[in-house]
Amino acid sequence: MSKIWILIRVQLMNFFPINEMKEPGNKKQSSIVITSFGIITLAIFFFVYNIITAKTLVQVGQQELIPAYMVSVSSFAILFLTIFYSNGILFGSRDMENLLSLPVKSSDIICSKFMFMYLLNFLIGLMFMLPGGIVWVLNGSLNVLQIILYFTSMIFVPLIPMCIAACMGIIIVVASSFFKRKNVIALIFSFAMIGIIGYIAVSAMKSGNENSIGIMLSKQITGLYPLSKLFMEYYNFPMHIGVGLFIVLSIVFFYIFAKMVSLKYGLLNTLAKTTTRYSDNKNSNSRTSVFFALYKKEMGLFLNSYMAVLNAGFGVICLCVFSIFFLFNSLQQIGEYSGIENINEYLSNFAPICIASMFVLSCPAAFSISLEGKNVWILQSSPIRVKTILNSKIAVNLTLHLIGYIISVFIVLVKLDMDIIQTVSLIIVPICYSIFITVIGISLNKKFPNFEWESEMMIVKQSMPVIVSSIIGMTVLVIPILLHWFLHFPIVPTLLGVALILLVIAGGVYIKTCRLNF
């Protein structure tokens, strides 16, 4: 146990900049403060959102469903998020070779890695379970045992979804290792699994078509995460037994997972670390421009990073999937399904911001400089202007957006009957948002780079530029909608106005960023 704790402590010190915080005058402190602010803002947002959700359940007389609802939603969120980074933490990180050479059992390494991932997921679970629990306790006639068991269960909620996500990760690692282009195959498997989870969520939401709101909600909740049934009260099966059983199940599930994985941990790690067997015999020596050489390199760097494509490609892939779904379903069907009466007008107004929101989710520029890692010396010592380097990274981000843009805008134009101003908005607004988020992402990464990462996951998912650019992106998405809802601004001109302002801001930030040294 002591060895597991030592391993966790080192990972925490490496992941959270504890030493940098202690060191007076460390340059990273401003970046740490901004990151902390971003994380706290997100946490407060989720906390308030879950309090409102729990209170809504109380208002409709379904307060007894709060524990099951919070367990279900938090488990689903943990499962979904863990898929995006489990392989980055559990297998193939840079410290693995050192760890495997030390006198530590494989099960201790896997436990420490898993517990580290658990700590991150525990915080996610806490954002759901704690506010829900507070509202539940304040609005129900509960005994002490129920309350103690609920708050104890918060510790165990992340275990099963994490084990499931990690198992999915293992399947991806093993299956893709049989292929020559293992990165591409791993991405296809990953997106397929995310698609399956998305399908389960949508099916769960559709399953509760009942007259009683209580039955409908409980069907939806258990459809999303069947184990949440243990948090529901039945006449012959009191909740405290269910929660107790849930805790025991979580421990047993985790124990079996750790034991099974540790048996083949070395092999799994080798498979994850095995580099592609690809070789290129077309050895062209043709000269290309500096920009194009950097662009090609940058595109290769992005596409060869499983973590980068999985996380930063998600928004654009969702946009393409939604667009194709939109193409093959009639407007009438979509209107009936969504409950919106004038669906043509509604989508004509909001399609630009929907497309823009997917671009905000896909911002590889926000970690593209950090992704250079230990290779950064190559760019730093080469005779290239900072502007050219930044342009190549911006171009990769815009290329990614362009794929989604062409598909979605074309389909929207074909399917919807739009007037001229709506068409102009559809064409211009996503472009402005795309440029804005790309420039903000690259400028934040330029200002706060991290080249000393152990796993790509650290910069792709949890770095300050990624978190802050996401918050800025969400804020600029919400602004025109809020102006429309609360101040009754006409949506299309507002979108166009905000988009043009963002374009001007992006221009200013770009010029300023190009002046910085690399």
Binding site: G25, N283, N285, W377, Q380, P383, I384
Partner: protein
């Protein structure tokens, strides 16, 4: 060729290099010697434009690395002690990438890649991914990419680490060829025997301060470089022979 004048570098409040001055002339093979943590890599990284610095000046052929970094970098090539190359590229792709950044024409790069690839016995491996290379193969790829644009000034950080005896011999031969064509070489090393035989000039740095510099024979006198180095490690007096 390379003029370092009163160069100082701080990490936070800690001064890691203090008032360092070195002059490398065309035709020089200049060895930069010091214990671990003495400030060699910091100095080299400032010379090639990776590190910014607080005091002093560094010029390449009269151009300041601070004011005109692109012009300076065009004239030199840098090979770090641990060549972290783009692992997703093949050796050919990486060398061509560097050649593109240095705007080397198609004909010239073809001829040089062939020549140095054959010389370092890397031609048949260059189609493979860099991720599959050993340390020595990466080092040889980094050397070929450095030579593909014929730099006037070669900056090398511990160049002989990880190279096999044949590659070491070839690198030394290429270093001689480079300076005989009017170029200059500035490199750090721990291998004192190599420095003694290869370098016409040396500089010894200890705790960020230059404690000896000048012509190798004059600096070490009648002693071996190893004996001299061990003596100056214990004795901090300045032994500048210039």
């Amino acid at each position: 060729m390379l003029e370092i004048k009163n160069f100082s570098k701080f990490y936070g409040n800690k001064k890691v290099v203090e008032n360092l001055s070195i002059s490398v002339q065309p035709g020089d093979i200049y060895g930069f010697i010091g214990a671990n943590g003495a400030g060699k890599t910091t100095t080299i990284k400032a010379v090639v434009g990776i590190h910014d610095f607080e005091n002093g000046s560094i010029t390449i052929d009269g151009h300041s690395i601070k004011e005109e970094p692109v012009i300076c970098k065009k004239m030199m090539a840098y090979i770090p002690d641990n060549p972290d190359l783009y692992e997703h590229l093949t050796g050919f792709q990486y060398i061509n990438f560097i050649a593109d950044l240095f705007e080397v024409s198609t004909e010239i790069r073809r001829e040089r890649i062939q020549r140095y690839g054959d010389l370092f016995e890397m031609t048949k491996h260059l189609s493979g991914m860099i991720s599959s290379y050993s340390h020595g193969m990466k080092q040889r790829t980094a050397i070929i990419s450095a030579l593909v644009h014929s730099p006037k000034l070669l900056i090398l950080d511990e160049p002989f680490v990880g190279l096999d005896p044949k590659a070491t011999f070839l690198l030394k031969k290429i270093m001689h060829e480079c300076v005989s064509d009017g170029g200059a070489i500035f490199f750090s090393t721990h291998v004192l025997d190599v420095a003694e035989k290869l370098c016409n000039k040396i500089a010894i740095i200890k705790n960020g301060k230059l404690i000896a510099s000048g012509n190798t024979e004059e600096v070490k006198g009648n002693e071996s470089l190893e004996t001299f180095f061990m003596e100056v490690q214990d004795n901090e007096q300045n032994l500048d022979t210039n």
